[in-house]
């Protein structure tokens, strides 16, 4: 009995020794990738990085996506025995912040892929830096159309967020067709995101037959919006569309009704205003404001589970609109990594950066929680569904975007 066990052990031991002796000699990993390879030693983590706005007035936008990534990492557990590590940089929701974050991340060659950025102006400058470093980036919340236009697309840039060509069109159609609004004005804050979304809205609204009575702009740091609103009032609009970020959007919201001629104007914004911080900043005037955002009720079945995990982990409802997109972005990275990685016997992982990038762009019919994602050659991966919401209660404590009863904001489009 004992002998048999011993001999079995011996055989196993020999076999193991053979493997250990043969494997590196037979086929050492050779890097043939055009833009470099990554080696993850045994015990070293799989290093994912984020470049999101996690501080300052727009922090909820990035924090929301970051939580999505963290839940994806929890769900994944480990990657082929390696821990998954998430580190990152704040991007500040401006070009300078995006540039600085990208430069810092580019210096860290252990990074597998970058999830980010939050704001489109950050991506415009961060994408070339990360491309040159060989990284692939997936943005959970950039929506500006020109980031994925073929002539402007930067290699290695992709996003799980929607393209504003669609968001602007839904907003314009809702205002004109569903609500019968004929005269609208727009205000943007000069950022790439804000300006292009306002332009798409204007274009679509005019195509439908509506009239744009004023196209105005402010600075993101402006506080006194009454002069610009007075200018707009001269055109007597029925609706003001202002896809601005938290602070400027809240100033416009709280000051609009104080301007003569705008007492009964309908206010409408976009996804940055779909956040609890916007309610905090805008005060009572936020009640009745419309905003467009991803249609959470149309998300895939897994979204419900995600919300439960979110509630359990953070003790509150999602802060903004791009948590599920962050979750899907991280999972696209994991799925692509599974396809390209080769493992040595001791657990060392190798993969080529171009191979990973190709595998990510080849994502097809990926079952995410935001829908079935298929990435285009220029990096648009979203399965876009947009809805229009109304803020029905201005009290931040009532923020309950995903509730079944007392939902705030409330979905008002079909």
């Amino acid at each position: 009995m004992l002998e048999r066990r011993l001999s079995r052990l011996l055989v196993l031991g020999c076999f193991g020794a053979l493997l250990a002796a043969c494997a590196p000699a037979a086929k050492p990993y050779e890097c043939t990738d055009a833009i470099g390879c990554v080696t993850i030693a045994p015990g070293a983590p799989v290093h994912l990085a984020y470049a999101l706005v996690v501080a300052g007035p727009d922090a909820v936008l990035g924090e929301d996506s970051k939580r999505g990534i963290e839940i994806a990492i929890d769900d994944k557990g480990t990657f082929r025995g390696h821990k998954i590590e998430l580190t990152g940089e704040d991007t500040g929701c401006n070009a300078e912040g995006g540039q600085a974050a990208a430069q810092k991340l580019a210096a860290d060659k252990t990074i597998v892929a970058v999830i980010g950025t939050s704001c489109s102006s950050e991506a415009r400058v961060a994408a070339p830096v990360l491309r040159d470093a060989g990284f692939t980036m997936v943005s959970p919340s950039n929506t500006a159309p020109d980031l994925t236009k073929p002539e402007k697309h930067v290699a290695g840039y992709m996003r799980t967020a929607h393209n504003d060509e669609l968001q602007g069109a839904v907003a314009a159609a809702f205002a004109y067709t569903t609500k019968g609004i004929k005269k609208a004005a727009t205000i943007h804050d000069g950022s790439i995101y804000s300006q292009s979304l306002a332009e798409v809205f204007e274009k679509r609204f005019k195509e439908l037959g509506g009239e744009i009575v004023a196209g105005e702009a402010v600075q993101p740091t402006d506080t006194d919006m009454r002069p610009v609103l007075t200018n707009i009032a001269a055109g007597k609009p029925e609706l003001i569309y202002y896809p601005c970020f938290t602070s400027a959007a809240a100033f416009i919201t709280s000051q609009a009704k104080e301007v003569p001629g705008l007492e009964s104007v309908q206010l409408m914004g976009a996804d940055p205003m779909y956040s609890v911080d916007y309610l905090k900043a805008a005060g009572e005037a936020a009640k009745g404001v419309w905003n467009s955002s991803p249609d959470f009720s149309a998300f895939a079945g897994g979204y419900k589970d995600f919300l439960d995990k979110h509630q359990k982990k953070y003790g509150e409802a999602p802060l903004s609109a791009f948590h599920a997109h962050g979750y899907d972005a991280a999972n696209i990275v994991f799925a692509a990594l599974e396809k390209v990685v080769t493992a040595d016997a001791d657990g060392t992982l190798h993969f080529g950066r171009q191979a990973l990038r190709d595998a990510m762009f080849a994502t097809k019919d990926f079952k995410g929680i935001t829908g079935n994602l298929t990435c285009s050659a220029t990096g648009d991966c979203s399965d876009t569904k947009i809805a229009v919401y109304e803020i029905v209660n201005a009290d931040p404590a009532s923020w309950n975007p995903t509730g079944t009863t007392n939902t705030n904001p409330l979905k008002i489009s079909q």
Partner: protein
């Protein structure tokens, strides 16, 4: 006569005058075009003017802090924008508490006075601390040194408050008595803005009286004119400098509450832009000059508010309000070309020789 004028002019002067005249031409052309198009009604112009006055009186109150300090120390206190931020941001938490227990709605006047007092006190304390720690040890150093510490103090305060209160935006509670508007002499004024304009005028009046009539005010003017001689006359210069910082801080705290009343939002970064604008106002009016800061602030506020519609709209520039800051700084250049020491000239309330 003409010969005499041109004879004394250097090439640089001539170039500056040309720029000045071109600006004047553009302003006049734009205004004429806008006014003749009749796009805006008289009531709308009045609104813009009132909005500008309200914003301008806040600039003026902050500008006084810059100007007073410059007057006695000949230095720019760049930490003043954070002195301005610290007051209303701290007072916000008291305002929120008073609102939650119902006191602010039941006793709005007393409540607002308490909130203002807290804001003014906090700003004053911060101003005095900065003076004691960052400026006084460097009093004998070259003038650029305190300028750099001022910038350092500014960042330090900004990020300290970010650490204390977080980086999000908070909003002052909205009071029922401050809602709505009323009409004075046919001009519609928002209640909040009326309160801001009146309160700011009151604060400025009190300050002016203090500087001109009180004994301490007289000592301040003496220190401003000549520190050494003032000391020889038995004036405690350090005490006067402390008083100056305290006054500037209290005014900034008052400006902060008024800012919170018309704009609502408070956050750690809120001081930066008003601080820069107030500094511009101080230079515009003539830095070191108390009435100059008031005039400069109001002037800047009104130009920012009326300017985009009046000058730029008529010239066919799209989205003119985006260029509000450009107007503000162009105005500064414009004034400095024709009056290099500001509208009312430099110096803190001295006898003009």
């Amino acid at each position: 006569m003409l010969n005499k004028l041109f004879g004394r002019m250097t090439l640089a002067d001539a170039a500056m005058y040309t720029v000045g005249l071109a600006l004047t031409g553009a302003i006049v052309a734009g205004s004429v075009a806008t006014l003749s198009s009749g796009k805006y009604t008289l009531a709308q112009w009045q609104d813009l003017l009132i909005f500008g006055l309200a914003q301008g009186s806040i600039y003026a109150l902050i500008a006084l802090g810059y100007t007073l300090v410059y007057g006695v120390l000949r230095m720019i206190n760049f930490a003043h924008s954070e002195v301005f931020m610290s007051g209303p941001y701290t007072a916000y938490f008291f305002a929120r508490y008073l609102f939650n227990i119902g006191f602010l709605e039941a006793q709005p006047v007393a409540g607002l006075l308490i909130v203002s007092a807290i804001s003014m006190f906090t700003s004053m304390a911060i101003a005095l601390t900065v003076e004691r720690i960052a400026y006084r040890p460097l009093r004998k150093a070259p003038r650029l040194v305190p300028l750099i510490t001022a910038i350092g103090a500014s960042f330090f305060l900004q990020y300290t408050f970010r650490g204390l209160y977080g980086s999000g935006i908070d909003r002052y509670p909205e009071l029922a008595i401050l809602k709505g508007s009323f009409t004075v002499l046919g001009v519609r004024v928002l209640t909040t803005q009326a309160l801001v304009i009146v309160a700011a005028a009151l604060a400025m009046g009190l300050l002016y009286a203090f500087v001109m009539l009180s004994k301490t005010g007289k000592a301040m003017r003496a220190v401003s004119e000549d520190k050494e001689t003032a000391q020889l006359m038995g004036i405690d210069v350090d005490r006067i400098i402390t008083t100056t910082f305290a006054l500037g801080g209290a005014l900034a705290g008052a400006a902060g509450v008024l800012y919170a009343i018309i704009f609502g939002q408070v956050q750690f970064y809120m001081g930066f832009v008003p601080g820069i604008k107030a500094f511009t106002s101080a230079v515009l009016g003539g830095i070191g000059n108390v009435p100059g800061a008031m005039v400069g602030g109001l002037f800047l506020g009104v130009f920012e508010s009326v300017g985009p519609s009046l000058f730029l709209d008529g010239l066919g520039i799209p989205a003119p309000n985006q260029l509000k800051d450009a107007i503000a700084f162009t105005m500064l250049v414009f004034v400095l070309i024709f009056r290099p020491s500001g509208i009312l000239g430099e110096r803190l309330a001295t006898k003009k020789a």
